[in-house]
Symmetry: D3
Subunit: 158 residues, 6 copies
């Protein structure tokens, strides 16, 4: 664990994860975990009659795996507040290899807790052809560095 404070995040900075291949196993396991046995994921015959001709990964599978891939060292100063603008851009097929690019998109104040700020990480998930398949914004509520009780500049002048 290493503390990274609100002030330490730099807007525009990026990091990229390694790759991971989405397998038939992942889809079968995800269906089993979620109970979503829709034919788009489980019925190869029916899929042949559809636009993509093959089974596609669950949106929640791609999202969950992508979020897992971005999990690096734990930052005890931040916790996951939620996600905005999660969009399924392209289908992910069995055998596709995904990687994720994370960009610090924005930093903003968080009114309810002035000692914290919100860091917005843009997560872009790409397949092996560098096509964007999923995008979302991760909201990290992040502690600010402890400040002096009194700000020097606000001290009364003598």
């Amino acid at each position: 664990m290493k503390s990274v404070f609100f002030e330490d995040y730099v807007e525009g900075s990026t990091r990229t994860t390694g790759g991971r291949t989405i397998t038939e196993t992942d889809i079968v396991l995800h269906a089993g975990q979620t109970g979503d046995f829709y034919p788009h994921h489980m019925d190869a015959e029916w899929c042949k009659s559809q636009e993509f001709k093959q089974r596609i990964a669950h949106g929640t599978l791609v999202f969950s795996v992508a979020v897992g891939m971005t999990a690096g060292e734990i930052n005890p100063e931040a916790f996951s507040y939620g996600y905005d603008r999660l969009r399924f851009i392209r289908p992910v097929f069995i055998g596709d290899t995904l990687h994720v690019k994370v960009t610090v998109k924005e930093k903003r104040d968080y009114a309810k807790r002035p000692d914290h700020g919100m860091v917005v990480e843009l997560c872009e998930v790409f397949n092996q052809q560098e096509q964007l398949v999923l995008v979302c914004e991760h909201l990290l509520l992040t502690r600010k560095k402890a400040q002096d009780v009194l700000d020097q500049s606000q001290l009364p002048r003598r």
Copy 2:
């Protein structure tokens, strides 16, 4: 499969799913699927020293299971466009039983495809104490019923 068109969705209408108990197995499987082995989910000893005193479910697990629980009959006229305002409100512990309330929150036009509209479903996930644990908005891009080629109101007056 049963076709439900944009016009068929009624703002304010709700449905509620049955319940599902989140087990230690679910957490272990989700860690295995996502690669997220953070101690919050996997280290019972460390958790004893933290605020909640016990392991908590991954946010992506709760989200994925909740989405799976809302999956009913397939609507061939709609497809999942994405999610907005996904928020983790309260931790989910091993043994908690979740259910989901889905409300048609809003219907709006979708400029890029005038023959479709966007249905916004508010998904609220509750535990067995009726406490809200997760909330999100599901965007369903939904086909409109085929319209007359000419709209009556636009016919030339005589």
Copy 3:
């Protein structure tokens, strides 16, 4: 949940499920669940020397998946009493897509509980070539509609 009473079942009526593709993952998971690691399911080399030239799904896997596929809405008036005449007709291979046809084959009285009757559902499991692979009869012990408190024939004669 929706109550369906003994009287509501119609002999000869049928319903058909969607499809599900049996994957290598299903076989590996089922071996892991049951401890049945027979070479018919787990040893692709040995299978090459056998009649079917490839691994086949466990009979209990095909049966369990087929039963799961027929599970629709819960009927609180019925419970599963057992199965008769379960037969393995043809092997199921990795990649086969199964669907199930359920026919109300017979309704009969159940002596031990006169307020219930036995509904016999014939379950026929087909592969993507419409070949029958498994058949069984599901026995549903089903509540009869509440009857008049007094049976006419038992009324005191005058």
Copy 4:
């Protein structure tokens, strides 16, 4: 592998398997494999309001595990023809430990293939309190020993 022919099976002979504890994990995995997420298996809260007060194992889980437990050495002379009279006698709860008693109940001819006979094995599944929880009859189509081309008794007398 060791050949056991039709003639080698002895009516009334029995064997008993070791034990296996049915875990919450088994139920979660079986729901995932079959898609049967009925509240009897998955919703601990709802179960509290029911007769047994707790989740119960799927019938197909108990059956599949029991069949797996009886799988010993492979007999290349027999193959599984099917099951008769599968009955769910008592519920199986999380933590119950099962064992199976197999009895050669009956041997009979099989008209379609005179060189084979049908061995009927009665499988009785017990919990740790020696209560019968499931019973079924396993049909094993088993090769008979090769016979002399000419039966001695039919040889022409000199």
Copy 5:
């Protein structure tokens, strides 16, 4: 269970297991169990750029499966003390079928417990081309047969 004592093991004796095919599922499950998501096992694209051009099984997967394959009947007189000289000789690929040859390589005294001896089993794991892929030595601490209370040689001479 059948008792096999230290004296019953014969140096040089061998046994060979049946085969088992290593599947993509096994690798995905093992990554999930161990948290080892190294690209050698999970990133098919990256593997294309490496020496073997494809994903390889985890060493601990091959070892665990091989050990499991050698598990026959339980010997209540022996327990697993550990392993020596575990070596990864060749990579195992998806679709390879493994079998194990076990040789009683050595029997030696175990000073700390004179009523036991150490049996060293050499485990050699081969793929379908009879290439050695993994080797290890299994140490079995095994009870000796109960001896006469008095050893003849220690009897007082007259």
Copy 6:
């Protein structure tokens, strides 16, 4: 990925992993992966009659998880050669939380490949009571830093 060469390893240096709780799920999954359904792991009733009174984790499970826990950043200059002196010291029970201490125990030459050396990492696995449960030595065949094309000692003397 970050290159760490043979010369970079420091004898006596140590690192310690975070913790991970071994669950009933892990044992059930490992039995399913390896086919080892020995009663020590799967039969809670039988275990009550044994020394430890409860189920214990498979040795290969503890080993595999421990190895997975030590997997940090990939070192492209090293590959896993094997393990020595793997010993099962104490049983691991359901609910135990493990962590691993890794010590660079020894560095030695590797005759077959002079441009590589062998790094021996001692892996000690502890439970939550700081009791040693498993120990092994990991052999890492590690590239040495590129040397001058000409070795001084081989230069022609003048």
